[in-house]
Subunit: 190 residues, 2 copies
């Protein structure tokens, strides 16, 4: 999607060590119009999947997963990182290493909102190492739901997430793919 | 908004001690169509405010603040509860007591996304004690931006937040207002 690439070129910052700063339009300030276009694009790529639910992780996955779900006409579920008092005792629970790799984060989904009848598209803002998405996929499995595909707004191909997730045997789609961030540059796949 | 009231009547659960469980359509699973209608309703109530930015707090404020911002045609900023590595050193920072009242949570906004030129609508899913919204208002003040109004999806009138925030002198709008949750009931304002 040229619009998103252009925005990353203009406002994205390569902070080194693979860190892409996009918090003026994706994960602190959010551009609703761009995010709607991103959701429509992801929905288009999975429109034949008979998806019943989009699953993401709080926090920065929420906006793009919301617009994808809106375009698909299904609900979105965001896995919680802490268990709210409104959740039942028995929940699906998985862990994933956090960005900093210094600690593990927990992810919770209530059985009240995901079950064996669901066909799930997992969506997140970034596909990097793939570890958060992998934890979401395991949550989908625990619920007995079927994983239909994985969608990301921005893929950092060089971090190996696609390789990790490919063995799941479902389509993996990114709206834009970054192939290289060494030497301060931001190179796109096409 | 009758649609939201009806949904709360049907799916909301009064768990006692003022706790309303709405995680099948607002804050765990989200209904995108209902949330779009909520955003349109809040935008309508503030359409004359020349708003330039909607500000909310992660996590469950994101979806309704996003749809409100979309309807107003402005960006949305969600205050972070932990400071990501992509944020600059100098940020606006405020604290608010968490739901459980057992600890304080920090809220961060980067000066890169909010400044003196902004006219701000603060939006959150719940207006209860008003303490989270009050912290967001203080962040808006620190940025030198002008607070134009406060919007909430669900107000729990009996928790006193409106009283706390009224002295700010800006319009406070809730899509639905709950007046009483004692004795297991859920009573609406009209």
């Amino acid at each position: 999607m040229e619009e998103l690439k252009e925005r990353i070129r203009r406002e994205g910052r390569n902070l080194g060590r693979g860190i892409l700063k996009v918090d003026s339009f994706i994960n602190h300030q959010v551009d609703p119009v761009l995010t709607m276009a991103v959701g429509q694009e992801l929905a288009l790529r999975f429109q034949d999947g008979s998806i019943t639910k989009v699953v993401t992780a709080e926090i920065s996955g929420i906006a793009p997963a919301f617009t994808t779900a809106l375009a698909l006409g299904v609900p979105v579920v965001y896995a919680r990182k802490s268990k709210p008092i409104t959740m039942p005792e028995e929940v699906y629970r998985e862990t994933a290493p956090s960005h900093t790799k210094l600690k593990m984060v927990e992810l919770f989904i209530s059985p009240e909102v995901l079950g064996p009848e669901d066909r799930v598209l997992v969506v997140d803002d970034f596909l990097a190492s793939g570890r958060t998405i992998d934890a979401l996929v395991r949550l989908v499995g625990r619920a007995g739901a079927e994983l239909v595909g994985i969608g990301a707004v921005i893929e950092k191909l060089f971090e190996g997430g696609r390789k990790r997730l490919e063995e799941l045997g479902v389509p993996i789609e990114a709206v834009v793919t970054i192939t290289d961030m060494s030497n301060g540059q931001i190179s796109f796949a096409d």
